[in-house]
């Protein structure tokens, strides 16, 4: 990857900085936001999804993904994060959506489980950090793939909260 191709325009950079800072702060919200849950929202096609911000370690731009033989199709391959080698799960496949080649707006959300396990999750675009009262998050009726654990209203639409544990439980035997 050349430096030039990785250079975004400055407006997107500051937006990512804001997101990254929000992610780094994790669950420790300001006092007035004490009761609010923070969700990192992103898109798959035009549908909004989210993961809890405290599970997000970082968000990285798309970079070379090396395919790994003998891995289930849902794992797109591995990336290098400052020398750390991390598997990237294609969320489109996990959600049963037709996979596409990553675009300029694609991002890899690096999530952790709090016990040192990390994984990359490939999404179409990252949008914002949403602050919502915990009681606005409602468990969802069982979805086809069991990947969505709850729904949260944002204006007129609903954001689907991803069950990361479920999404990252991939059957190695395909």
């Amino acid at each position: 990857m050349s430096e030039a191709s990785a250079t975004p325009d400055s407006s997107t950079t500051s937006r990512w900085d804001t997101l990254a800072r929000a992610a780094a702060r994790g669950g420790e919200a300001d006092e007035e936001e004490f009761d609010l849950r923070q969700l990192l929202t992103f898109q798959i096609d035009d549908a909004p999804y989210a993961v809890p911000v405290e599970r997000v370690r970082e968000i990285v731009r798309i970079r070379p993904i090396t395919p790994v033989p003998r891995m289930p199709e849902d794992v797109r391959g591995v990336i290098s994060l400052r020398g750390e080698i991390v598997q990237v799960v294609d969320l489109r496949r996990r959600l049963g959506v037709e996979p596409i080649d990553p675009t300029r707006s694609s991002r890899i959300i690096v999530v952790h489980d709090g016990e040192g396990q990390v994984a990359g999750v490939l999404v179409d675009a990252v949008t914002e950090v949403l602050r919502v009262p915990p009681d606005s998050i409602r468990p969802s009726a069982s979805s086809e793939f069991g990947a969505v654990e709850a729904l949260c209203p944002r204006g007129e639409e609903f954001v689907s909260l991803i069950d990361l544990t479920r999404v990252l439980e991939i059957d190695a035997g395909r």
Partner: protein, 162 residues
């Protein structure tokens, strides 16, 4: 880390590094666009072979290596890799060994030797047969490191089964 100090003699500091942090020399090979690293300590020799030299026996491919039958494994079929090469093109056989066992891994290109640091692959899939880990070559480009002992074992176990 182990420190041994003798007055007037000096100090010995010994540090034991796990394999995942040790720098080892690897041979970089390629099939189509994908590169792999083979730890050099497992490589005995490399040969440029013509497909006409490859003999077949019970579905296996063999090479007469100075009078010995060397079992060949195509990395492309082993790992279901897309390959642009036709069966007529010359190939490289990387002869790898584990103890007395020898297997020739067939690849399309040799891309030289590199210092590599083998890192574990983190993520939902805990282990992949035949892959020992990965290393970063150049800028953000992960290259998989082959687990030679697993590949040799698989190749020869299939031979016994055949």
């Amino acid at each position: 880390v182990y420190v041994d100090s003798l007055e007037g003699r000096g100090t010995t500091i010994a540090m034991t590094l796990p394999i995942t942090l040790a720098i080892i020399q690897s041979l970089i090979v390629a099939v189509g666009p994908q590169r792999f690293a083979i730890p050099l300590n497992a490589v005995l020799e490399t040969l440029l072979i013509d497909p006409s030299e490859i003999q077949r026996s019970e579905g296996r491919e063999l090479l007469n290596l100075r009078g010995e039958a060397l079992v060949l494994r195509r990395l492309s079929s082993e790992f279901e890799l897309a390959t642009a090469a036709t069966r007529e093109e010359k190939l490289f056989a990387v002869v790898v060994g584990m103890g007395d066992l020898r297997v020739g891994l067939l690849v399309e290109r040799l891309d030289g030797q590199q210092d590599t640091v083998i890192k574990p692959i983190q993520g939902p899939i805990q282990s992949i047969r035949g892959i020992a880990g990965a290393t970063e070559l150049g800028d953000q480009d992960p290259v998989l490191v082959l687990d030679v002992s697993a590949l040799v074992e698989d190749a020869l176990r299939r031979r016994e089964a055949a």
